[in-house]
C-alpha cells in the first residue's frame, strides 16, 4: 500500500470515527459551560444508539432514528438536570448513575436486536466538485456521513453563539458565577436545564450515529467508552467548540489507527491507546497551562442555591 492511499484512508476514517466524539464533546461543552458536569455521556450515548437503531429498523427511516435518539438523550439529560440543578445532588454521582442506568437499560432492551444488520442505514454523501480535488477530495469529501458535516457546521454555530451573542454571555456567566448572573436577571436554573438538556440531545445523536451510520447494527456496549473520552476531550478543548473539532478528529484518527496497525502490534494493546493518550494529553495541558486553570468555568460542579454565597 502506498503512503498516499494510506493517508487518504486514515484521514477519511478519522473524520468518520471522530464524528460521534465531536457531537458528544460539543454537547458536554455547553453542559459544562453552564456549570454542570454530566458524567452520563456514556449512558446517554448508548441509549441514543439503541433507540436510533430500534426506530430506524422498525420504521425504515434512519433519519427518524437519529431524531428519536436525540430526544432520548435529551430526556436522560433532563433527569440529570433535575437531580443536580433542582435537587442539588452531587453532579459526579448523578452522572455516574446515569451511565450505569443507561448501559444497563440499553443492554436489557437491546437483547433481541443484537447482530441484525440495519436494513436502511443513514446514507453517506459525496460532495460534487470538491470530491474531485486530488488527495483532499477523497480524504474529506467522499463517502462521509451527513452528520460529519453537520457536526462541523454545528461547531461553528455553537462557537459564534457562545462568544458572539447575548445568549452565549448568559450561558458563560451562569457557569462562571451563577449568583452574579442571577443578580443581573439571568434565569440560572432555566439556562442550566437548557444547556444540560441540549448536551444530552447531542450525546443522543452521537450514539445514533454509531448505530445507524458508522456501524449500522446494534451491539451491546457499542459505545465502548467513547462517552468517557468525550469528557476528557471537553477539558482538552478548553471548553471551546472550535477546539473540540480537531480534538475529536485527532482521537477519531487514534481509534482508526488502533484498527489499522493490528498487523504490527497486538490489537488489545492498540485499543488501549486512545485512553492512554487521553491521560497523556491532559497531563501535558496541565504541564503547560496549570496557572490559569485553562478556561474551566468557575462554578463548574457546584450546585447553585439562591441567596447563598
Amino acid at each position: 500500500m502506498d503512503w498516499q492511499s494510506w493517508l487518504i484512508g486514515t484521514v477519511s476514517r478519522a473524520l468518520a470515527f471522530g464524528t460521534p466524539l465531536l457531537w458528544g464533546t460539543l454537547g458536554e461543552i455547553y453542559t459544562e459551560r453552564a456549570g454542570v458536569v454530566n458524567l452520563g455521556v456514556e449512558g446517554m450515548m448508548i441509549l441514543g444508539a439503541f433507540s436510533a437503531f430500534a426506530v430506524a429498523q422498525t420504521t425504515g427511516h434512519p433519519g427518524l432514528g437519529v431524531l428519536i435518539a436525540a430526544v432520548v438523550g435529551g430526556a436522560a439529560a433532563v433527569l440529570h438536570a433535575f437531580l443536580t440543578v433542582t435537587l442539588r445532588a452531587n453532579q459526579y454521582v448523578s452522572g455516574l448513575a446515569l451511565s450505569l442506568f443507561g448501559l444497563g437499560l440499553a443492554g436489557l432492551l437491546g437483547r433481541g436486536w443484537e447482530g441484525i444488520p440495519l436494513r436502511q442505514p443513514l446514507p453517506n454523501v459525496t460532495i460534487p466538485g470538491l470530491s474531485r480535488i486530488p488527495v483532499l477530495g477523497p480524504m474529506l469529501f467522499q463517502g462521509q456521513s451527513v452528520l460529519t458535516y453537520a457536526g462541523l457546521f454545528l461547531a461553528v454555530v455553537l462557537w459564534v453563539l457562545l462568544y458572539r451573542t447575548r445568549w452565549g454571555i448568559s450561558v458563560r456567566s451562569v457557569g462562571e458565577s451563577p449568583s452574579t448572573a442571577d443578580a443581573l436577571g439571568v434565569n440560572v436554573f432555566l439556562v442550566r436545564y437548557l444547556c444540560v438538556g441540549f448536551g444530552g440531545l447531542l450525546a443522543g445523536v452521537a450514539g445514533g450515529f454509531l448505530s445507524v451510520a458508522y456501524r449500522p447494527a446494534w451491539t451491546e456496549g457499542m459505545t465502548a467508552g467513547m462517552g468517557w473520552i468525550v469528557i476528557a476531550l471537553t477539558i482538552f478543548a478548553a471548553w471551546d467548540p472550535l477546539q473540540a473539532v480537531w480534538g475529536a478528529f485527532l482521537f477519531g484518527g487514534l481509534y482508526h489507527l488502533s484498527f489499522r496497525l493490528q498487523e504490527f502490534v497486538a490489537p488489545e494493546l492498540l485499543k488501549l491507546m486512545p485512553y492512554a493518550f487521553a491521560i497523556l494529553v491532559l497531563a501535558l495541558t496541565g504541564l503547560g497551562k496549570a496557572r490559569r486553570r485553562w478556561g474551566a468555568p468557575g462554578a463548574l460542579g457546584l450546585p447553585y442555591t439562591r441567596g447563598e454565597r
Binding site: G104, L105, W228, A276, I279, A283
Partner: protein, 371 residues
C-alpha cells in the same frame, strides 16, 4: 423555616443518623418499586419476579451464600473507596485497580515457585502493591499536573481492561485452553479455601472485615486519617495547616487501590482459579462499589453492610437471569435507579418536620436558617 398547614418545615445543618438511615432505606425501596415497572414491561409479573428473587437469595442457604460471595469484592472495593472519598478524591478506578490485583496474583500463581501458604500470601501482597501503584498514578497526576482524577481513573480502568485482554490472548494464554482466552489454571496451592457447602472463599471475607476495621481506625485515630479528613473538607484549610496534599492523597489512593486489588486477588484465587476476560472477573464490582461507599456515607464499617445489600442485588441478577430468563444487565438498571433515588432524596435528610406550636410565626429571618 416554612409553615405548611399545621407543620413546620425547617432545615438542619447535619442530619441525625436516624434520618440518614431512614431516608436511604426509603430511597432503596422506592427504587425497587420503580424497577418493578421494568419486570412488568418485560411481561413478567413484578410480584412473581420479587418472589422468585426472594426465594433464590435470602430464602435459601445457597442463596445467602451466593449473596455473601458476591459481597466479598464489594466489601474490599467499597471500604477502599471510603478512604479516597473522605479525601474528596473521586476514585472511579476501583474496577481497574481490582483487575490490577487479579493480574499480579495471576503472575505470582503461575510463575512464582513458592511453597504452600507462602504462595497465597505472596499473591495477596503482590496484588495489593500492584493495585496501590495503579491507584497512586491518578493521585500524582492530580497533585502535580492538575489532571482531573475522575477522568484519569476512568481511563485507567479501560487501560487495565485491555491489558488483561492482551495477557489472556497473548503472553499468558493457557497451553491447555484450546484456543479459548484464559490463562492456565492455578496450582492447588494458589486456590483459596471455601466455607464447606458454599463457594464463599472465607479468607477474603476475613481480610475484608479486617480491612474495614483497619480503615476505620486509620480514619479515626491516626495522623494520616486526620489529614485525609482535613483535605476532604477543605484543601485550602489543609494547605494552610501545612498538610502535604500530594502525600495525603497518594497514601489514600495507595490504600484505596490496594484494597480494591485484594478483591481482584480474591476473585481469581477464590472463584475463577485463572485469569479470564475482565467482564467475567469483575462484572462491574468496581463501579458498584462507588454506590456502596456513597450509601455508607464514607464510613468503612457501614460499607460492609451496604456491600451486602449490593451483593444481594448481584445475586438477584443471577436469579433473574436463570429463573426469569432476563439479561443480567438488569443489575445495572437496579444500581442506577438506587443511586438516582439515593442522591435525589439527599435533601430530605436535611429537613425536619414538626408540628407548629400554636401561635408561633415565622419571624422572617431569611438566609440565616436557609443554609
Amino acid at each position: 423555616m416554612r409553615r405548611v398547614g399545621p407543620l413546620l418545615v425547617e432545615r438542619r445543618i447535619t442530619p441525625p443518623r436516624s434520618a440518614v438511615i431512614g431516608v436511604s432505606a426509603l430511597a432503596v425501596v422506592i427504587a425497587l418499586l420503580v424497577a418493578a415497572i421494568i419486570f412488568w414491561g418485560y411481561g413478567v409479573s413484578p410480584w412473581q419476579a420479587y418472589a422468585a428473587i426472594a426465594r433464590g437469595t435470602v430464602g435459601s442457604r445457597d442463596g445467602i451464600n451466593e449473596i455473601l460471595r458476591r459481597s466479598l469484592p464489594l466489601i474490599l472495593c467499597g471500604v477502599g473507596l471510603t478512604l479516597a472519598f473522605r479525601a474528596q478524591f473521586w476514585n472511579i478506578g476501583a474496577e481497574g485497580q481490582l483487575l490490577a490485583g487479579a493480574v499480579a496474583a495471576t503472575g505470582v500463581a503461575l510463575f512464582a515457585p513458592l511453597p504452600g501458604p507462602w504462595l497465597l500470601l505472596a499473591m495477596f501482597a503482590a496484588g495489593f502493591l500492584a493495585g496501590g501503584a495503579w491507584g497512586i498514578v491518578p493521585a500524582l497526576l492530580r497533585a502535580k499536573l492538575h489532571v482531573n482524577e475522575v477522568i484519569s481513573t476512568l481511563m485507567m480502568n479501560y487501560i487495565m481492561i485491555y491489558i488483561v485482554e492482551w495477557l489472556i490472548h497473548g503472553p499468558w494464554k493457557g497451553a491447555t485452553m484450546r484456543g479459548f482466552a484464559y490463562s492456565d489454571f492455578f496450582p492447588a496451592a494458589a486456590r483459596l479455601p471455601w466455607i464447606p457447602g458454599s463457594r464463599v472463599h472465607w479468607p477474603t471475607l476475613v481480610i475484608g472485615v479486617a480491612a474495614a476495621v483497619a480503615v476505620a481506625l486509620i480514619l479515626a485515630r491516626t495522623r494520616l486519617g486526620y489529614e485525609i479528613r482535613v483535605v476532604g473538607q477543605s484543601t485550602d484549610a489543609a494547605r494552610y495547616a501545612g498538610i502535604d496534599f500530594l502525600r495525603v492523597i497518594a497514601w489514600a489512593m495507595f490504600l484505596s487501590g490496594g484494597l480494591a486489588a485484594l478483591a481482584g486477588v480474591g476473585e481469581v484465587a477464590g472463584v475463577h482459579f485463572r485469569l479470564r476476560s475482565p467482564t467475567h472477573i469483575s462484572m462491574g464490582y468496581g463501579y458498584t462499589a462507588i454506590i456502596v461507599a456513597w450509601l455508607a456515607r464514607g464510613s468503612p464499617l457501614a460499607a460492609v453492610f451496604t456491600a451486602l445489600l449490593f451483593g444481594l442485588i448481584f445475586a438477584a441478577g443471577d436469579v433473574i437471569k436463570v429463573a426469569l430468563r432476563m439479561p443480567f444487565q438488569i443489575t445495572g438498571v437496579f444500581n442506577g435507579l438506587i443511586l438516582f433515588f439515593l442522591i435525589g432524596s439527599e435533601m430530605l435528610m436535611y429537613w425536619r418536620v414538626r408540628l407548629a406550636p400554636k401561635g408561633e410565626r415565622w419571624t422572617g429571618r431569611a438566609g440565616s436558617s436557609e443554609r
